[in-house]
């Protein structure tokens, strides 16, 4: 799964041969996703790793008083003990993950299948199959030669809105991307900026999970961006947004399944949701399900934190004291979620939490497609580039790459928000 397109330099679109510019994300002529090809490395993220995290993540952590304290987890014990003398080794060890071009080169869907490669690639203005490079793509999105499905719009999505950015990827094992996200920014009545990110993970065992996640993320994002400028308290706005998203997902259950959907399971569309709002002084998160938000301070000496508590079997077992975290997450039921948005959810319990971090940092909002490969706050902190708050889109890409490097077993969606929300002027929509 590590084949890459062989283009030496990206001067032409690999799909339609239209000249492209170095900064382009998509071909201006055919819309081909140019991220499939590693762009020429403009700059490598420097490896100036920050200090080692303080051992433990107890409440004594400098600053960052979470109103909602993540439970201490045994898994951090080993990672929490390195002495300063270990620092170089640790840096290189972990730093390797970041030492690569900004664009992760692991989007295998778009990469040509080596078994099918070799056929002559006609320089045809019509869209050419990305799998065999020989056939044209028919109106249904399949290659008329090898039959392979072409990348769909949602297979890889990147978006930036003001200070916040998000990336979503299909991953390596799923045939479609059932994650969705919404990002946006606005101005509060007092003139200070606010940034919003919502990430949703469709429940695969439900019918049409992709539609559920899309509806939920769009509605929640719109609700927040409408409520915040009116002066609604961000935590209240987050609660309302989750309720609105839930109603949007419930509404999908009433629509008949499309004919193409002969899925083995037929039940109400469902998804998880996690969202974050950052303002100049406040960080609010809200969630249902097992998608998560993490706090990663710019000063890596300060402890990072997980801001959400999963609605999952494992989390419940740990919370009830029935199992240790290690035992619970080793169980095959660990990822069974106990809360979700959807018509068949038992009871909607939107969780929200509000934080007042005392230092700048970044908020990572993600689906389990990422946190499966960076579960603890420390691991996540290690995976996040040091300049996350300044270059959120780059950071989101790096984090998606981290998940794909780890195996990409699920769809991956990551949003990165800087705290505090920078005042407007620099960013553009």
């Amino acid at each position: 799964m590590s084949q890459k397109p062989q283009q030496a330099a990206l001067q032409k679109c690999p799909s339609c041969a239209e000249p492209v510019e170095s900064g382009d994300l998509f071909c201006g002529a055919c819309g081909h996703d140019l991220s499939v090809v590693p762009a020429p490395p403009q700059d490598h993220p420097t490896l100036a790793m920050t200090g080692v995290a303080e051992p433990g993540d107890g409440p004594g952590g400098t600053g960052n008083p979470p109103a909602h304290q993540p439970a201490g987890r045994p898994g951090t014990d080993s990672g929490g003990t390195p002495l300063p003398g270990h620092e170089p080794e640790r840096s290189t060890g972990s730093g390797v993950r970041f030492d690569r071009p900004a664009e992760p080169d692991e989007y295998p869907l778009q990469a040509p299948d080596p078994r099918l490669a070799g056929a002559a690639a006609p320089a045809d203005p019509a869209q050419v199959c990305v799998a065999c490079r020989a056939g044209r793509v028919d109106s249904d999105g399949y290659c008329e030669n090898c039959g392979h499905a072409q990348p769909r719009e949602r297979d890889h999505v990147e978006r930036e809105s003001g200070p916040v950015a998000a990336v979503s990827d299909r991953g390596l094992r799923h045939h479609r991307n059932e994650d969705a996200f919404a990002v946006g920014h606005t101005v509060l009545p007092d003139g200070t900026p606010a940034a919003v990110a919502i990430v949703c993970d469709g429940v695969s065992s439900a019918t049409r999970p992709d539609e559920a996640s899309l509806a939920a993320s769009q509605v929640a994002g719109d609700t927040l961006l409408a409520a915040l400028p009116r002066g609604t308290h961000p935590q209240t706005a987050m609660h309302e947004a989750i309720v609105a998203a839930s109603q949007a997902v419930n509404a999908l259950a009433e629509e008949p399944a499309t004919a193409r959907e002969h899925a083995p399971h037929q039940n109400a569309p469902a998804c998880t949701i996690v969202g974050a709002v950052v303002t100049s002084g406040l960080l609010v998160v809200g969630w249902v399900g097992d998608s998560r938000a993490y706090w990663v301070p710019d000063d890596r000496g300060a402890p990072p934190a997980r801001l959400t508590e999963d609605d999952s079997w494992a989390a419940q077992m740990v919370a009830a004291g029935l199992m240790s975290e290690a035992e619970a997450y080793a169980d095959e039921r660990a990822h069974a979620i106990t809360g979700w948005l959807g018509a068949d959810a038992y009871e909607l319990e939107p969780h929200t939490a509000s934080f007042k971090p005392d230092r700048p940092g970044a908020v990572v909002v993600c689906t389990d497609g990422l946190w499966n490969y960076a579960e603890t706050a420390e691991e996540m902190c290690e995976a996040v580039p040091p300049d996350a708050a300044v270059r959120p889109l780059h950071s989101a890409r790096v984090l998606v790459g981290h998940a794909l490097d780890g195996g990409g077993h699920d769809n991956v969606t990551v949003a990165v928000l800087p705290f505090p929300a920078p005042s407007q002027g620099a960013g553009s929509a």
């Binding site: 056939g135 290659c143 392979h148 002969h262």
Partner: protein
Amino acid sequence: MANFAKPNVPQFSVDVYQNEYLPEGGSEVNAIVTVTATGGGTIGGAAAAPVYTPGRRPSAAVAIMVDCSGSMDYPATKMRNARDATSAAIDTLRDGTHFAVIGGTHVAKEVYPGGGRVAVADAVTREQAKQALRRLSAGGGTAIGTWLRLADRLLSSADVTIRHGILLTDGRNEHESAEDLRAALDACAGRFTCDARGVGTDWEVKEVTGIASALLGTADIVADPAGLAADFTRMMETAMGKEVADVALRVWTPVGSTIRFVKQVAPSVEDLTVRRTEAGPRAGDYPTGSWGDESRDYHLCVTVPPAGIGREMLAARVSLVVPQPDGSVENLGAQGLVRAVWTDDMTASTAMNPQVAHYTGQAELAQVIQQGLDLRKVGDFDGATAKLGRAVQLASASGNADTAKLLAKVVDVVDAATGTVRLKTRIAEADEMTLETRSTKTVRVKK
């Protein structure tokens, strides 16, 4: 060329039923493709629009081939019933339909209208045709190939859309070689469709079913000659309901894939795999004959090159086309997509699609009946019991009550669920032939 394009061409739709999920390394894709034609044939035979008014109904020509060999006089009711049945069929002809009656022996004779022409149905010609039938007498041998070749000549003399034959025989094709019949069928295939009927019990099931199969029509037994008139009327009504001729199922498959088989599985089993004609890159056409208001199911099995987990490909694209004389095709619009999606979700990849499972069983049912009857003929009664027992089990499990009833006339059913049966010691020949002729009839999935 007659123009059937405008208002009365039925609307075709294609539905695909499959489990598109394959395990890692999986390569076999099965799908049931349901093709439904609607909207054309609802006017019925009563709307006797002359063929000269374009656009009302498709023009049609029908040739009725009646066996006049000497055996038709034993018993004499056979010839009389055949005559009456042909009269009834002629009464069912829509005004304006071209028709001809052929008397078949070891040679083919034009009974009506003669002169190498076809008549156009109206009150006068119908009456003349019935008069001509009275002069039909039995005497001579049987060479069905000659009948078909004459029917082809007559039918092709008419400029019509639908060409159809109705063939009645009571005996074996004794006065020409099997190769002659085969050559005649090959010459006629695709030029007209033909229903074949065996009357009495002295004919060869495989000959009659072979004719119907080659000419994309139905085959059946009319054990009692008294039932002929009703059967002929029904056949003619069906023929009059046809709207579009020479429809082909066009199947596109990706490079590197192999079509294991293409079978019609409803209303009866008909393997079309070897009848493919290439139609451009990676596409082939399978003949389906003419269509009225009806629905048929096809089982498509394709092997594709396995792809990695998470990949999706199009394993087949199924559409309906009408090849035109100039080499182009008229596309009937509807198409269905057969997909393959590789997943590591075992629950998804191991599920069997109910339609695929059902028709796999129906195809096996037809096969084990044939095998069981063949074994019985060669004296392998244990083998025959095992095969027919399996048939009873399949028929019972799938709700194919008609076939179950026919089987019960050949075997004593001890336990249908386990397929435990005993061969009957005495089996009426008509029952055995009926079972063999109708073994390919299937039932559809219970909704």
